[in-house]
Homo-oligomer: 320 residues x 2
């Protein structure tokens, strides 16, 4: 639920005067996205999303994100395309914040995941990884081991107020991952936040991927691990191996796994679970009372972590 910055008429008019988008017909805040302020903008030229980047997004990273979207769209991967103003720049300023306009993507994000969603997602992910392989810019994943270490420290004192024993469970897991985190796996640009609300479908077909503001360079298989957690657990906490098999087998038809990637999957899934456990826990502990955004439950990710800790090998994910 996110509109943090109200844009006045004068500011909007002055901003849009620098584009060739025709007359504005509508401008509405969207109740989706958590990090930034998003507006649906309709003009004589069509539908667009206007995003104002709020404090969590580093200005220095925006050229990487916007360039990636442009790169993917140019290769036929359905992602929002940044719209350039008359001066040729897509990244601009509005209300004292960095801001950009991107094209509007049709489609609905799935509220209830079916196996076909996972199959489409797997294929879409592989196409995205292949399309981004020659993207020139790089951005390290600041939410991998080093980032987790900082979050473990920042949450340690208050984790047990959320659930008894949580601080210890996190420290133990982090120590394990530090020791066993893989190296040398196939890597490139990943989305790194591919939750269902970032993936659009028209009917049973994936129609687009949005919200590239966590994209970074990391193992391709880590992206799959994030998706296993976000797409393949049921509401009651049960892991759905059928969905996982659909996801992973559709992916590997387009980009084959190595034996090492396969072997590392349980560890990567534990890391992906810890990553969202930590960021959710941090937000839970630190969210101001009365804030717009209702923080997400960190314990959901502790339960997912527990599942992967018990996994004996990649076969648990429907892989052979």
């Amino acid at each position: 639920m996110a509109v943090y910055t109200e844009v006045s008429d004068e500011e909007l008019t002055a901003f849009l005067a620098t584009y060739d988008l025709g007359r504005v017909l509508s401008f509405k805040g969207i109740a989706e996205g958590v990090e930034n302020s998003n507006y649906l903008l309709q003009t004589e030229r069509g539908g667009f999303i206007l995003t104002l980047y709020e404090k969590r997004v580093a200005l220095a990273d925006l050229p990487f994100f916007l360039g990636l979207m442009e790169h993917l769209a140019a290769r036929g991967f359905a992602s929002p395309t940044p719209v350039k103003a008359r001066d040729g720049q897509a990244l601009r300023q509005l209300c004292g914040r960095p801001a950009a306009i991107v094209t509007f993507l049709s489609g609905l994000w799935p509220r209830r995941i079916q196996p076909f969603h996972c199959r489409e997602l797997g294929a879409g992910l592989a196409r995205m990884h292949l399309a981004s392989a020659d993207y020139a810019l790089e951005r390290p994943n600041d939410l991998s081991l080093e980032g987790w270490r900082k979050l473990v420290g920042a949450c340690a004192a208050r984790a047990d107020t959320v659930q008894d024993g949580l601080a210890r469970a996190i420290e133990t897991e982090f120590a394990h991952l530090e020791k066993h985190w893989p190296s040398g796996l196939a890597a490139g640009v990943i989305h790194a936040d591919l939750f269902p609300d970032n993936v659009f479908f028209l009917g049973e077909t994936l129609s687009g991927v949005i919200d590239f503001y966590f994209a970074c360079n990391d193992f391709y298989a880590y992206e799959l691990a994030v998706c296993l957690n976000a797409w393949c657990f049921e509401g009651d906490g049960a892991f759905n191996a059928t969905k996982a098999r659909h996801l992973l087998s559709a992916y590997r038809q387009l980009r084959a796994f190595s034996a090492e990637e396969l072997e590392a999957m349980p560890t990567l899934a534990r890391g992906a679970a810890l990553r969202f456990l930590l960021t959710r826990l941090y937000d839970w502990i630190n969210h101001p009372p009365g804030a717009y955004v209702r923080p997400k439950d960190p314990i959901e990710y502790l339960r997912k972590l527990r599942f992967h800790q018990r996994v004996k090998g990649p076969a648990a994910y429907g892989l052979r």
Copy 2:
């Protein structure tokens, strides 16, 4: 910021199957409106707003609201038009709630009010009052004297926790209004909640009015009093008589005031200020911690009330 009810894919698909709207292209929660859940729905037939009516709206009132929108639209007044399903019904059920689809209105609501907005608003209001004059249904204003009496009682015990002396100030004002509230003024259907975010403009022209879910029968001049409060005060609390003159003089060019309406304006403006002071105060006192919606400041309306209490006559509003 309002999406209280998440609509699943299956529920949306089943719901839309009862309409002739073609394939769904997009479905996004809108961060506007406070009482209900609003989604922007795009289909092959165009843009629509899907509203799920949450608990504050009485089911029994919905035929009045939807019928009014249809009545106004049929008379050429730019309001959303309810879309009927194949069974001829506009009021339906979705996710266990009453729900309706209305047409999408182009336009932007003004974030910073200029005198031309007030002029357009005045003329639009008069057109709306004239267009609704032959509307067959009636709905009493449950937020007039009787409703205020209940709110005064409900807020009395805790009003002073918001501002010292507030309970007393409210009781004194209510007693005054009970004694001096006018009777016999020209009356009919009014919108009763015409804040800027419910009025759309394209350029300097009013393009539509939305959100008729407080509409009721009351004095036409009371509608103007609500608008004086909502449109003619500056951010620093100062009353802008120029804006008021634009509002009222544009209105009276299309629907003339009687001497009684003119004379009653300061009292009506006090009542309109008390009405929003009371509902905001009630929400302020009763809003659950961590709720999505940030309650609006009741004290803003205490300051507006104080202004109208000091007014000597209708000349203060730019009228003669």
